[in-house]
Every structure is written in structure tokens, then in C-alpha cells.
Point group: C2
């Protein structure tokens, strides 16, 4: 079997660490492995399924001989380094925002637009976590009836701010639990434990945050729907690592709820959890704790949008997915796997 | 000054206790005070601004001589007892769901439909907490441009399940904080700490929960809009006592965002918190921690609904309000106060 020389950039972060696990789980044909990170992590030894690997500082020459780069670093690192990797013959699957909307960079959710991978010129972008988690169940419904409009409210986990975000929430919960004063927030703009923070990313001139606009801008590109209208409200919630979304869709054509359920039950990457009569809460509807450390997007609470002037052209549902896995690492490794097939 | 004989039913619960505080804060002319509760709380002595009061078992004869009853008990208690109170000459302001949709019972948010109080026949109903918190900012926008459609996702606090709900969340947070195993959930269907529970109330045949349908059914009655279409998704979040709502409105007429902001800034019961440039997070947008133990509904994140085919006819915002106060006790005492004026 052909094997590949793989490098993970940002290998010591939450997403980079998860990418390592996902490579093994997805039986990726790793021939050799490089773990790249900031100079301050260089020298650290990481146990991997392919032996112990010493972390190297991410620099252009580190990409010599590398076939596939999995990028889990910030935008500035991505912009500086990945063209260098491409120049050295590597293909980069990048989880940063840097290249997502570039015309010559495919933006891919394998369950939606795997075919777009073929047109890459060295870089393939991994979408934003909330975009992936929302689109995996939206796409089969688009195929069913044509989505024209999405109204989304998100419930996003601390992990979206990486390890520092998760640590901050855990520290705050620990302090609350011991009845101690909470440390000053650093990763988030305010206390997250027992609170909600309705801003993720910076504001544009219209009052939307960058995170909110990603669902429309990335969704249009991924689903090849340049006219799609998406209104999104992104909210950080005191949950560790699974995002949830309340999604209302409008369709071109009428659908029955049975058709919607069948489409979702058959959709790749989706697990239908929508049994209102189920004895166990875990079978009744998706919850972020249940999708923690899972790859599937759980979808439930499926019902008509009764506010739609024609309810047969609207549906509302609730979905949850692990932000670090399908929201980032799993999706990136799926793309890399497709590159090898 | 004329004073009134007041009785609180369910006086030892979260809402009943808060009603006592609200009576004092709103300078309600209390002449005498009865605290009624289940037999197991009878005999307990409660310190009040009007002296120590011994809790009595709620029973029909307890209403003899009472002018105003504030009801903070469950539906079954309400149905059994309040007609008895009315028969004895009292006016009841009831926070339960029992009478809310009865044709001869006004359902009142004083900022919206105070005039409806006049038509009461002994019972006035206090709306559901999420309804009150959503309608206080929606009403001035309806007056501005005519609301035809609401799409709402809620982020509801543990206090909606009363003291047991708050205690359960606190116990779970404490266990998490100490790294201990969490006790089995009792008040909620699943673990709430570090999780979300997307069901509040029982399901109807269409897959909506009772809590979700309240916003449409109660909203129609309160705003006198029998055709109003409301699509709501209600989610329990690990927050102690303030509800938050992500609300998208469609209007009959076009509006500017300046008109929306002016209407909200001038609206009774509303505090506009919508300064994207503010240094402090607390001035940038509403957060549930900031509205905890406050009477006002904080409103912010005001922007166009860019998914609306005509964005000038749509607006999206975020609001937070204390569930026990304006969502219940404050609103009930406001109604009682209006009865005395």
C-alpha cells in the first residue's frame, strides 16, 4: 500500500492533537509523521501510533519531503507557511480561516462537496466548525427540497477557543464548585460558567460577528448556492466541546416530515436522535454531552416551521456535534483520506 | 392610604419568595400578609418587611378577608383553590398555566396590555416566563412596524424548574468542580451542567413542547394578534436564573435600525445594551449573569435579518431577563399594583 509523509501544523493544540487520533481511527496510510508547532513547543516528545515523535518548529524547510499537511494553526501561520509547503510539493488541508473564501481553494465538507477536492491547487480549506455541524444535516434537506433561507441560533462550546478556552471554563467551574472567587476571564470576554456570551469573533459594520457570517459565506461556497440567505446568531455557552444549533430552513418545494426524517436517516455523517417517546433522554433528542468525542452530527427535534406562511415549505430542527472532531479534525482527515483514494 | 390584605400561595418556593421582595420593592400597600403553602411547609416562620409571618396550609378558608392573592403554585393547586378565593371576594394574580388561555381571564404583561386588567372576573393570569421576556422588547417593535412572524430560540435557566432545578444545577457544578461523580438528575431529564437539554414541557402531536407553544398562544392573546405566527425552540442551559432569547421578527412595514433602536430605548421595562465598541463586555451586549436579580429586560445584538427577502422588514436581536423576577414575580406584583391604582 502506498503511504504518505504527513505533517500536522499546530500539532500540540486541541485540534492538532485530535488530528493525530483521527489519522489512526480513519486508518490513514501514514508513512512518516512530522509534528510542527511554535518554537516554544519544539523539542517536546509526543507518543503517537507511529512511534514517539519530537515536535519541530514550524518553518518552510520542515515541509521538505512532506506529501500532506494538516493545518491546525492560526490564520497568520497559515498564510506564512502553507504556500511554502505547496511550493515544496505538499497538499495542505487547512483548518484556519486564511484561505477559505479564496476562489482557487476548495472548501470542503466531504458529505456535501467531496468532488470539489479535485480542483485544488495545493490548498484545501476545512470550513468553520459551526458551518460543518450545520451543513451536514442541511445538505440532504437541500437535495430533497431546495434550501433558500436559513435562520440559525448556535450554542457553541468553549473548545471553539481551543485549549485555553476549555481550561478557562474548567477553572471557572472548579472555582464555582468550591465556592471560590472566579479568576479573571482571559480566553473569553466575560465569565462563561453559568453565563452566555453572545459574541464570537469581531463585528462587521452591520452588527454581525465574523463567526455569524461564516455560515452564510462558507455555506454558499460549499453547497454551490451563491444566493443562499443565512441569518445566524452565535452564542458561546458553558459546554466543553460540542456545539449545538437550532436551525430553521425554508425550501423551494413542499416536503413532508417523513421525507425529511428519511433523508436525514439516510444521510452520511448524521445520526437521527428524534424519538419523543423514548424512555432514555439520550434517545429523545441530541445533547452536546452525548456527541462529545463522537464523529457524527446528531439531529433531532424535527418539526414544521409553523411560522412559515406555508409550513410545508419550512422545517426546524436541533443538532449537536463535537467541535474538535467533526467541527475540525475529523473533517480535515476525511479530506486528506479522499486525497489518497 | 388604602391598604390591602395580601396572600401569597406557594410562598416558600422560588417565585413566592421573590414576590415577597417585589411587594416591598414596588411599595405595594400591604395591610396584612398571609403566606400559604403546602401542609409540609405550614408552621414555618418567615421574616418579612411586615413582620414575622407563620406559613399556613393553603386551603379555601385561608382566603377569608383576603383582597389580593398572588399565586405561585402549580396548575392543580391553582385550579382547586383560586375559584374559592374569588368566591370569597379576592382578586387572584396567578403565575400558573391553569387559566392563561381562558377567555374570561386577562393574560397581562403590564408594559404591553395593562388595559386588559379591567376586564377581569376575579382571576388575572401572569404569562409564562419566556413569553414575558420575549414580548417586552417585541411589543414596541410591533407598535413600530407590525410584527407578523417570530422565530425564537431560547436559552433558559435552571430556575424555570424552581428551587429544585437551581439546586440540581448547583450540586452538579459543585461535583464537577471537585472532580466528583455527578448525582443522578432528578429535576431535569439529563445532566444540565456542561450540557444543554432541548426539551422543556411535554410534547404535542406536532413535536413542539408546551413551553414552545406558549410563546405563540400566549403572545397572540397578550398582543391581540390572533394571526401571529411563532416558531420557537426552547432549550435549557446551565445558567442559574436568567433566560436569554435569540429573536428574529418579520414586520408588515419597512423599518430602519435607528427606528428599532429608538423604539427599544424608549420602551418601558427595556434596557438597551448594544454598544459594539464598548470597552466593557457588560456594555456590549446583554448576558444572563448581568440580568440576574434585575427587573429589566436587556436587549442588544440588534441587526437586520439578512435572510429576509426584504431585510428592511426583518430584525434580529438578543435579550436576557431574570426568570424569577420579570419572568414571574415582578410581573405579577406589577399587575397587583395596577389593581390598586
Amino acid at each position: 500500500m502506498k503511504t504518505y509523509s504527513v505533517a500536522i501544523v499546530g500539532a500540540t493544540g486541541a485540534v492538532g492533537t485530535q488530528m493525530l487520533t483521527c489519522l489512526a481511527e480513519q486508518a490513514f496510510p501514514v508513512g512518516s509523521l512530522k509534528l510542527l508547532a511554535s518554537p516554544r513547543s519544539a523539542g517536546k516528545v509526543v507518543e503517537t501510533p507511529w512511534g514517539n515523535v519530537t515536535v519541530e518548529a514550524a518553518a518552510p524547510e520542515a515541509f521538505d519531503g512532506v506529501d500532506i499537511v494538516l493545518g491546525a494553526a492560526e490564520d497568520d501561520v497559515a498564510r506564512a507557511l502553507y504556500p511554502e509547503a505547496v511550493a515544496r510539493g505538499a497538499v495542505v488541508v487547512d483548518n484556519s480561516h486564511a484561505f477559505r473564501l479564496d476562489a482557487n481553494v476548495p472548501l470542503v465538507v466531504p458529505e456535501v462537496n467531496a468532488a470539489d477536492i479535485a480542483s485544488h491547487e495545493g490548498i484545501i480549506a476545512n470550513p468553520n466548525c459551526a458551518t460543518i455541524i450545520g451543513l451536514v444535516p442541511t445538505w440532504p434537506l437541500h437535495q430533497l427540497a431546495g434550501v433558500t433561507r436559513m435562520i440559525v441560533s448556535t450554542y457553541q462550546a468553549a473548545s471553539g477557543a481551543g485549549v485555553p478556552g476549555m481550561r478557562e471554563l474548567e477553572e471557572q467551574l472548579a472555582a464555582l464548585g468550591r465556592g471560590e472567587e472566579l479568576p479573571e476571564p482571559r480566553a473569553f470576554a466575560a465569565q462563561l460558567a453559568s453565563n452566555l456570551i453572545p459574541q464570537i469573533g469581531g463585528f462587521d459594520g452591520e452588527g454581525f460577528t465574523s463567526e455569524e457570517m461564516k455560515l452564510q459565506n462558507e455555506g454558499r461556497k460549499i453547497m454551490h448556492l451563491p444566493e443562499l440567505r443565512v441569518n445566524c446568531t452565535c452564542v458561546r455557552v458553558p459546554v466543553l466541546r460540542s456545539h449545538s444549533e437550532s436551525i430553521t430552513l425554508e425550501f423551494e418545494r413542499e416536503v413532508t416530515l417523513d421525507e425529511v426524517r428519511e433523508a436525514l436517516a439516510a444521510a452520511p455523517g448524521v445520526k437521527l436522535v428524534d424519538d419523543r417517546e423514548a424512555e432514555s433522554a439520550h434517545d429523545r433528542w441530541p445533547m452536546p454531552l452525548d456527541t462529545t468525542d463522537q464523529d457524527l452530527i446528531y439531529v433531532g427535534r424535527i418539526r414544521r416551521d409553523i411560522s412559515n406562511p406555508n409550513p410545508a415549505r419550512g422545517v426546524t430542527f436541533w443538532c449537536c456535534g463535537d467541535q474538535i472532531r467533526k467541527g475540525a479534525a475529523t473533517n480535515a482527515v476525511q479530506i486528506a483520506k479522499l486525497l489518497t483514494e
